[in-house]
Symmetry: C2
Subunit: 193 residues, 2 copies
């Protein structure tokens, strides 16, 4: 659907309003009427921008939240070129998820949109971009002679992604950030050699 500048702005306003609302609540019981009321839009506007209704809107919100996950780690994630940068990135990840605590807006949304191809694509895209940043950081450290050449950058970047996901999952079920810290610190130690 080709949108005018004004149309794009309205669509974005709906997404951001819905995201803010869903972040503060359990989205299971949230209806399109709630979203209409919060964002001050009409039913026909909602269906103009999201013809497939609630699932399409929730998916757009999930994509918006996924972008925030990476934004929250910048500028560190995009410039992992020194050990100090790795430590700052590590701290920003821990701080972000400690603040988030047991409530994961993206995870809850994914639970709502379920196992649709669109939902899988949001997760794959996020994890792929995240991993590419870490992969590039390891490559940059190798180019600078700070990480040994024998380190398999692809494999270790995948290990970071798995570790962060699992650390956050443990945090969400136990309330403790220790596992997230442990896996980040161990993998950075591995890079230091």
């Amino acid at each position: 659907m080709a949108l005018t500048t004004k149309g794009r702005a309205t669509r974005q306003r709906i997404i951001e309003g819905a995201a803010a609302y869903l972040r503060g609540d359990e989205p299971a019981g949230v209806t399109l009427d709630d979203i209409r009321a919060i964002t001050g839009t009409s039913k026909s506007q909602i269906f103009h921008y999201f013809p497939d209704g609630k699932e399409e809107l929730f998916l757009a919100v999930a994509r918006h939240e996924a972008d925030r996950v990476l934004d929250d780690q910048q500028p560190h994630l995009g410039a992992l070129t020194s050990w100090a940068a790795w430590e700052r990135w590590r701290d920003s990840v821990v701080a972000r998820y400690r603040a988030q605590g047991r409530h994961c807006p993206l995870g809850t949304l994914m639970g709502q949109v379920g196992s649709t191809p669109g939902a899988h694509e949001v997760v794959s895209t996020l994890l792929g971009q995240w991993q590419a940043h870490v992969r590039k950081g390891i490559g940059d450290m190798q180019a600078a002679g700070l990480v040994r050449e024998s380190v398999d950058a692809d494999r270790v970047a995948a290990a970071f992604i798995a570790g962060i996901q699992g650390g956050v999952q443990v945090l969400m079920s136990t309330g403790h950030v220790g596992h997230l810290e442990a896996v980040l610190d161990t993998l950075i130690d591995y890079l230091r050699g």
Copy 2:
């Protein structure tokens, strides 16, 4: 509740029947009547053994599934005393979760029983026991002079648990086992030094 030997056997039969049934299906729509039909028990029997009803039964099933998670990794997990043992354990974890694929019986059950204290206790107990086994393995390797003393066994054991949880989570959303393999291999490499 003190049960006779026969009572314990009946209770266990209900749990195992329910577990097998829930493993093959999405439990969201499963009712106590379904469980009664499958296990050939009466309503009064179900409520005798599980006075709080469905949630209590599902929690007992979750506990049963959590025990299976560790059993499936034995005898390797309990005797991580050589590099060959670590590799066999690594392979058994990957094989277990590859076979399970996108469907995680314990995860789905936990989604059903939600964030009750009982549900958190099942997860904490499982992760704690799992981590204690890995912790003991690292300690045994250090005692045998196979892992350097400077390795923080508690921290690395926590990193393994986070990494496995995250690797399985990525497997469930992408269908690929690569992240699980990457984090296990990287952490074992870290232990090898």
